[in-house]
Amino acid sequence: MAPPSTTTAPRSTLVQLYDVYAASTTPTLALIDAYLAYVLATGVILFAYAILVGTFPFNAFLGAFLSAVGSFVLGVGLRMQLAAGGVVGVGGARARCARSPTGSCVTWCSTWRC
């Protein structure tokens, strides 16, 4: 990679950013990041649809969007815990116990309203 200039052309900066990112994440974290990117994309698509086509029925939009946001947030929480050095086993059992009711809460509440 050619050395980047200090006056940053945004494109080369972003590419460099991606390189640094790829180098510093473990496979597990990268997997979680891929999942988070997918959920984020889903949320963006949902929101764009709501703006362009309309929010009727509002229940359905809210349910889908908030469950996307919720999944994203919980995923970020998991990633934070793993990145901080927690092995999935350490406190993972308790964390998993907490995550499944939390996740089911999100899913249940968002779908019940539909």
Binding site: G77, T102, C105
Partner: protein, 785 residues
């Protein structure tokens, strides 16, 4: 060994003691709220609780589905009220659950008794929640004090006596539990704690409209944490889980519905949600890039995010998608807003600003102990302390805006005062528990290393007799017995002020020498270094401890007195003391409501001012035109217009509303001052805000005062309410020395005598003339009245 059982360890003793104390606190909290039940009977009080009671009966008798979809056609006639969608169902479900649980166990209690005692039961739980919260923030001794304070504080008792079956009775419990669980979540970063906090928040949303306070306070706290540089993974997890799940769950309550994402009151939470995610994202990007790259990208990222947020907020507000702040909550930000624009909010007595007297009356010692607690919180700021500080600050502000919000201040005042008192007591008790001067001298004498230490800082007050230059003088002091303590401590008075630093230096030096010393010569009494530094004189400490105890005793006395005298009145039954001190009861309200219940047709419609709507529906079981829900301002304005208009106009309005009976409250005979004549100006102002033909000026006297005697305003003398209240009043002897027709509340002779009614006829007047019922005359088949 006692009875062959091993002696419990200190830890176990502590746990036992603490559990005992907490159980006693629950019992006290329950008992202190029972005054009115013991004096009168088990009855629902006031106004709002009657509606909650009626709704609970529907829930218990007809089931949850019927309740959730209940349309009440017998209130707000002819509009009706969608109760299922406009009620906070928490307290009804709570009472119904307890009712069913007791029935399942075989106790066939009446639903009324369950409702009456719901609030006292939950007050015990509130005390436990306060203990838990304070224990997370400070320590368990502060927790115990907080539990005691909150169990008897009058500001909370006023809304949770037995019989006051109102939302706040369970909502304050939910509030404290939510706060406790959220603080635990921030402390531990546990997802489980966040989940539990959210479930508790759901209960709070179900219970009370004051949940807005939580959904704004928690984001404010997060904002303060971010500003204070205390961002952490735990905070992120706690808040995000709370916000996303909380929003989802709060939308399950029909009354909240889409408000959770559409109203301005929830916008703050959303904004902080975005902000903390942005903060986390920026921090994450920064963690794996170099500074240069980060600066280029980071600014771009933040700027894009803020621009998107700003545009969205702008469009949302402009298109009306995001509703503006509702009047009730806007008046919290601008206290003068309601009195200028929304008279119906301004008219509620609970919405008036708080006077200083109320602070002392409702909080007593906590008023000035709260700043003490704030000080101690600031001394050692932690994540949890910061929460209590933020909660305290905002509660203090809001309690100043509205009397009703004293209720929100009471818990945090109790918690902060407990922290303050506990810290004070520990400081001084430590002094008192330190061994007396003679013992210290003896220890000093036993320890050779103490001698060089004391030569280094001879003025040190930390180890007091060591400051006297030689052990023999310490022993001499010991010899003089009782005066010894005073004598040895006088030598330290001058240095007491700067004692702490020096004492720490002395003890640390002694500790170092101790460490170097051979421990084999250490005697069994504690070494000098192991004693905590004595920072105050013993007599000062004793005075402080005794003073604090005295303060607590006075607090308890005040709280019990206030509860007994001021907050235990059912409002449905009035009482006064006769000339020889006996209690006289005025049961006029129930007399009139039961007359209505037994002597009028089932579908009779009763028109009265909105204050009495719930009681009418609950006790008289008749259809009402307006009630305390006050959801429709124009309907109330119509009723107000009927009350303040001359008789023919009022009759036209009454016929239009299909009214059969009119009910007025009149206190002139017994001196009951919350009657309709005193509320009359609101019956002028509220219609005045809707109907421009009503001018308040016409109802006042020539000089602009509100009087009811012969100087009364012309419109007042002609109004329906005046006529209905004073009809036949000129035949009534009220006070011995005066002529007939002397109004004991306004302290004047009534202005108009010999009132004639054309379209109304008197149906019933209660024993003390407090409630008066009039029948609306209807034309018969021939058109004659």
């Amino acid at each position: 060994m006692v009875l062959g059982l091993p002696m419990p360890s200190t830890k176990q003793q502590e746990v036992l003691l603490r559990s005992l104390i907490l159980s006693l606190i629950c019992v006290v909290a329950f008992s202190t709220r029972l005054f009115s039940v013991l004096r009168y009977e088990s009855i629902i009080h006031e106004f709002d609780p009657w509606f909650n009671f009626r709704a609970t009966k529907v829930l218990v008798e007809r089931g949850s589905y019927e309740f959730w979809n209940w349309f009440d056609g017998r209130s707000w006639y002819p509009l009706g009220r969608i109760v299922g969608g406009t009620v906070y169902p928490g307290i009804m479900y709570t009472a119904a659950t307890m009712y069913h649980a007791l029935h399942a166990l075989g106790f066939n209690v009446d639903i009324r008794d369950v409702c009456v005692l719901t609030a006292p039961i939950f007050s015990g739980l509130t005390a436990l929640a306060a203990y838990a919260l304070t224990q997370s923030v400070a320590d368990s001794s502060a927790g115990l004090l907080a539990a005691v304070f909150i169990s008897i504080v009058p500001g909370y008792i006023s809304r949770s006596v037995a019989g006051s079956y109102d939302n706040e009775g369970v909502a304050i419990t939910a509030l404290l539990v939510t706060f406790w669980l959220f603080v635990r979540a921030v402390q531990t970063g546990s997802l489980l704690a966040s989940l539990l906090a959210t479930l508790s928040y759901l209960y709070m949303v179900a219970a009370w409209g004051g949940y807005i306070f939580i959904i704004n306070l928690v984001p404010l706290y997060v904002l303060v944490m971010l500003a204070a540089g205390r961002y952490s993974r735990r905070l992120y997890i706690a808040y995000n889980t709370f916000y996303v799940l909380g929003t989802l769950l709060s939308m399950q309550i029909r009354f909240v519905g889409f408000n959770a994402v559409q109203s301005s009151e929830h916008l703050g939470a959303f904004g902080v949600f975005g902000l903390i995610n942005l903060y986390a994202a920026v921090g994450w990007v920064r963690s794996f890039t170099s500074e240069r790259v980060f600066r280029a990208v980071g600014r771009l990222l933040v700027l894009t995010a803020l621009v998107i947020a700003g545009v969205a907020a702008f469009f949302g507000t402009v298109t009306g998608f995001i509703g503006p702040w509702t009047g009730r909550f806007y008046s919290l930000l601008d206290p003068t807003y309601a009195s200028k624009n929304i008279p119906i909010i301004a008219s509620v007595s609970e919405h008036q600003p708080t006077a200083w007297g109320s602070y002392f009356f409702d909080l007593h010692a906590l008023t000035f102990l709260t700043p003490v607690g704030l000080y101690f919180c600031f001394r050692k700021p932690t994540d949890e302390n910061l929460f209590i500080i933020v909660y305290g600050a905002f509660a203090i502000y809001f309690s100043g805006v509205m009397v009703r919000l004293m209720l929100v201040l009471a818990p945090v005042a109790a918690i902060l005062s407990a922290i303050g008192v506990s810290a004070t007591l520990s400081t001084y008790m430590r002094v008192l528990r330190a061994p007396p001067a003679e013992v210290i001298a003896a220890i000093a004498a036993c320890e050779p290393s103490a001698a060089p230490a004391q030569e280094d800082d001879s003025a040190s007050a930390g180890v007091s007799p060591a400051s006297s230059t030689s052990p023999p003088s310490g022993l001499r002091h010991r010899g003089t017995g009782g005066g010894a303590q005073a004598a040895s401590s006088t030598s330290t008075t001058s240095t007491a002020g700067v004692s702490s630093k020096r004492s720490k230096a002395a003890s640390s030096q002694a500790r170092r020498r101790r460490g170097a010393e051979d421990s084999s010569s250490r005697p069994s009494p504690p070494s000098l270094a192991s004693l905590p530094p004595v920072t105050h004189r013993r007599d000062v400490a004793a005075i402080m401890v005794l003073g604090t105890l005295l303060l607590l005793v006075l607090y308890v006395r005040h709280c019990v007195w206030v509860t007994s005298e001021a907050y235990s009145s059912p409002s449905v039954v009035l009482s006064a003391r006769g000339r020889d001190g006996e209690r006289i009861f005025f049961d006029d309200f129930r007399e009139a409501y039961y007359w209505l219940r037994q002597n009028t047709p089932e579908d009779a419609k009763v028109m009265s001012w909105w204050d009495y709507g719930y009681q009418l529906s609950g006790m008289a079981n008749r259809t009402t035109i307006v009630d305390n829900n006050t959801w429709n301002n124009s309907h109330i304005a119509t009723v107000g217009r009927a009350m303040n208009a001359p008789e023919p106009q009022a009759y036209a309005i009454a016929r239009k509303l299909d009214v059969d009976y009119v009910l007025v409250i009149f206190g002139g005979v017994v001196g009951y001052s919350s009657d309709d004549i005193n509320k009359f100006l609101w019956m002028v102002r509220i219609p005045g805000s809707v109907d421009p033909s009503v001018h308040e000026r016409n109802y006042l006297s020539d000089v602009g005062s509100y009087v009811v005697d012969s100087r009364a305003g012309k419109a007042l003398k002609q109004s329906l309410l005046y006529k209905l209240c004073y009809y036949r009043f000129d035949e009534m002897m009220t006070v011995g020395g005066q002529e007939a027709g002397f109004d004991r509340v306004r302290n004047t002779m009534v202005g108009v005598k010999d009132i004639k009614l054309k379209y109304f006829e008197e149906a019933f007047t209660s024993e003390n003339w407090i409630v008066r019922l009039y029948r609306v005359k209807k034309a018969d088949d021939m058109g004659w009245m």
